[in-house]
């Protein structure tokens, strides 16, 4: 298994992928956190979906993680794209046959690939958190936000909890990407399906029939980062996400294990 992880890390660490992904993540996080603090208290909105975030709120222990939580969904979409492309490209390049000749235990290939991408996602999320915290501290004086509560135990707890939840959310989106990659065996199809579903179709569906939101995978994954006022609980979302991911991952894993590699 460790051999598979090393092999996958060699692919993930190539500069064009690693540096561009980390640059995008830093840019997005910096932008979101910057706008939140720069336009603090703006009646036109400086938070999610036009909501106004005040300096008073940002001065609470949860203030330090507001910008980071805002960008969580986009981090998830980035992870979905990476997991999907890294998985499906093995089919389009025809490299899967090389991998399976060198490591015929297919589940080891799958698990090693997944774990290496999880490590990549962890690095991405950690970098995003650090960027957000730095920008928050830099802009706090401008926004008249007091930062003393950020370093209290409540602040640190909020930080750790947010890191865990965003990580969970990002890995969940990534897992969906990998599932789609295995299913479609084409990076473009897998990414397009995932992005269109999560960015457009789910939102239309949840907007038109609000009762469906509770059962939609994207809505539940997003609820893990608790930045929106969902009508269902964190526990419900955690359970739903687990059910969705475990069941679909099991199905595609079996497909991967049994399917002929004929391309």
């Amino acid at each position: 298994m460790i051999n598979v992880i090393w092999a996958e890390m060699r692919k993930l660490r190539r500069p064009t992928l690693l540096l561009s992904t980390m640059a995008i993540v830093t840019l997005l996080t910096t932008l979101f956190t910057f706008l939140t603090f720069w336009r603090v208290g703006d009646p036109n909105g400086n938070g999610r979906r036009g909501e106004m975030v005040t300096a008073q709120f940002l001065s609470t222990p949860k203030g330090i993680i507001y910008g980071f939580n805002l960008v969580a969904f986009l981090l998830g979409i980035v992870a979905l794209c990476i997991f999907a492309s890294q998985t499906a490209q093995e089919y389009t390049y025809g490299t899967l046959r090389n991998l399976l000749v060198r490591q015929p235990a297919r589940m080891k290939i799958l698990a090693g690939k997944y774990l290496s991408m999880v490590l990549f996602a962890m690095l991405m999320v950690l970098l995003s958190l650090i960027s957000s915290v730095i920008v928050a501290y830099l802009l706090a004086p401008h926004a008249h936000v007091t930062t003393t509560s950020w370093t209290t135990s409540a602040g640190l707890t909020a930080l750790a909890s947010s890191l865990g939840n965003v990580l969970l959310s990002v890995i969940s989106f990534g897992t969906v990407g990998m599932i789609l990659g295995l299913l479609f065996r084409s990076p473009i199809s897998a990414i397009a399906t995932g992005v269109i579903w999560f960015l457009i179709l789910e939102n239309i569906l949840a907007g038109l029939v609000t009762s469906t939101a509770k059962w939609l995978p994207g809505q539940n994954i997003t609820n893990l980062t608790t930045t929106q006022n969902f009508t269902f609980t964190y526990q419900h979302s955690l359970t739903m996400v687990a059910i969705y991911l475990i069941s679909s991952a099991t199905i595609v894993s079996l497909l991967f294990k049994r399917r002929d590699v004929a391309n």
Binding site: N3, A7, Y93, T95, R97, V101, R102, P104, A105, A262
Partner: protein, 305 residues
């Protein structure tokens, strides 16, 4: 199944069916250890399907097989000793040749220090740092061969290894295969260039429409074919008289490009020359030729060249 201890590959009734299409039908053949075995067949005859089944990439619909003495249902037992290049080289375009080999070396648990010598061995020493997507077809093919050599294989499976190579490259691959065989490596090589296999393969497996039509020594196949006397009269009008003489002596004959192709041993050439002279026919040429493997193959498969 026969005792497979002296065999690199042995399959019995190996079959693969996709829906209503039979890609391989009851293939039974064996490849002795330490030999170079050519795997010949027209496009779509089932060569790559067979190779994929031998490497555990696709599951047979029926039949059994062993590779290096292990059942093909457990590829993990023999693949660490097998090197393979299947259906052309497939690598990550954005990685360099060297990094692509390192990915596979990491995966197989091989020492990374073997990568550079392998690049040198296949003539890519100075281009190992270039991205795979910048390689020519010949260079890609060489990298594929280098990847196949990573495990220092007991069995090397090469699918069309000379595709895209220039004559010099083809010569190098041929030499490489011969060297490996001399070192005890069994080589199973498929090619549509039959002349290539004739020069390097001691053993031959021929496929047509998913069925094995020959499995044995290349020399035996060639010996099975009678030599041909090619006689061309100086004047074309004499060709009919020449045919009559040949038929009168119970030899089979056909006319190709104005020459009589006579199934006959070379020893009959002086007799034919004398008979033709007595009949007033001057022969412009009289030669004895052995059929090439290609001619033998097309005769067996019934394909026109």
């Amino acid at each position: 199944m026969a005792n497979s201890s002296h065999l690199a590959i042995s399959v019995t009734d190996l079959t693969k069916i996709y829906g209503e299409r039979t890609a391989l039908s009851h293939a039974t053949f064996s490849v002795p250890l330490g030999t170079v075995c050519g795997f010949v067949g027209p496009n779509g005859s089932g060569k790559t399907t067979t190779i994929r089944m031998l490497l555990g990439l696709i599951t047979p619909s029926a039949g059994t097989g062993t590779v290096l003495g292990e059942e093909i249902t457990h590829p993990e037992k023999y693949l660490p000793r097998v090197g393979a290049m299947i259906e052309g080289p497939a690598f990550y375009p954005a990685l360099s040749g060297r990094e692509n080999l390192r990915v596979l070396a990491s995966l197989g648990g091989f020492d990374q220090s073997i990568v550079d010598p392998l690049l040198e061995r296949v003539g890519l020493g100075d281009r190992g740092g270039s991205k795979f997507k910048t390689y020519s077809l010949g260079m890609k093919q060489r990298l594929g061969i280098a990847a196949a050599l990573l495990p220092n294989p007991h069995l090397l499976v090469l699918d069309e290894p000379t595709n895209g190579l220039d004559p010099n490259g083809i010569h190098e691959v041929r030499s490489l295969i011969k060297d490996l065989a001399l070192g005890g490596t069994s080589v199973f090589v498929s090619s549509h260039l039959l002349s290539e296999l004739e020069m390097i393969a001691e053993h031959l497996v021929m496929l047509r429409e998913g069925k094995v039509i020959y499995n044995g020594r290349t020399a035996d196949l060639l010996a099975a074919q009678q030599p041909i006397l090619v006689a061309k009269p100086e004047y074309h009008v004499d060709i009919t008289k020449l045919l009559d003489i040949v038929k009168k002596h119970d030899h089979s004959v056909s006319i190709i490009d104005g020459a009589a192709h006579i199934l006959s041993p070379a020893e009959w050439a002086p007799t034919l020359n004398r008979l033709a002279f007595e009949a007033g026919i001057t022969l412009a040429s009289l030669t004895s030729v052995l059929p090439t493997l290609e001619e033998t193959f097309f005769e067996m498969t019934g394909d026109s060249q």
